[in-house]
Subunit: 118 residues, 2 copies
Amino acid sequence: MARAATTADAFNAVAEPRRRQILDLLAGGERPVTDLVERIGIAQPQVSKHLRVLREVGLVRVRGEGRQRIYRLDARRLKPIHDWVGRYEEMWSERYDRLDAVLEELKREERGDGGDDE
Amino acid sequence: MARAATTADAFNAVAEPRRRQILDLLAGGERPVTDLVERIGIAQPQVSKHLRVLREVGLVRVRGEGRQRIYRLDARRLKPIHDWVGRYEEMWSERYDRLDAVLEELKREERGDGGDDE
DNA sequence: TTGACACATTCCCGTATCGGTATATATGGT
DNA sequence: ACCATATATACCGATACGGGAATGTGTCAA
């Protein structure tokens, strides 16, 4: 077994910065591939491949118009991500940051401990 | 070049279901590794490796206590994800779903077009 | 039909994954 | 010192990613 496919779910699809960039662009309205290629600055095949992933996960829809293929955002598949992360939202509030700092302090006083971080 | 490292950022770290599961467990309070191993049901080395990734990204903190290592959630690094996804939140509301349906309808009427989905 | 344009697919390569198994590194107990 | 417990690391194999380059497919125009 290896790492899960990027097409496994939105979490994996969106882990790639270029793909987020594409979604960000599409958030401003539907666009043909060439448009995306220009704005992102990577080669066309790469863009097409990223779009394929986004399509398979259901984050974008395509429509053929003449020789162009117009891509449109479908944000619904982002909801699971939002829902999951949302459960943690209160934990990075000011209050929790404070609690964090306090706990660190206490530990540092208890034992003359060094950092454990990488 | 290959896929970005899982330790590149929280997006990549959290793309792995097992790692989300670990964070979910830690959301209920700090826990030693063995505890996580039992609850998740995968081998200890795998858990340790996932914890390493989470540590390197800054999503968890460790504290040594006797021969145990107590892991604690640090949710702050999830904020970028929440912020990014949050920008799309309004787009999966009822209204947009409707708009979506309407657009599909219109297109289907204009041209006797088949589906474009995989 | 031929050619240009828009886009998708295929192949290659180097890399990093995840799981499995084995081993190393603490730390505590006797 | 020795053994058990708790955890981390190293090594392996299979997978598939992501960029690059080349090629295939579809559509319009003359």
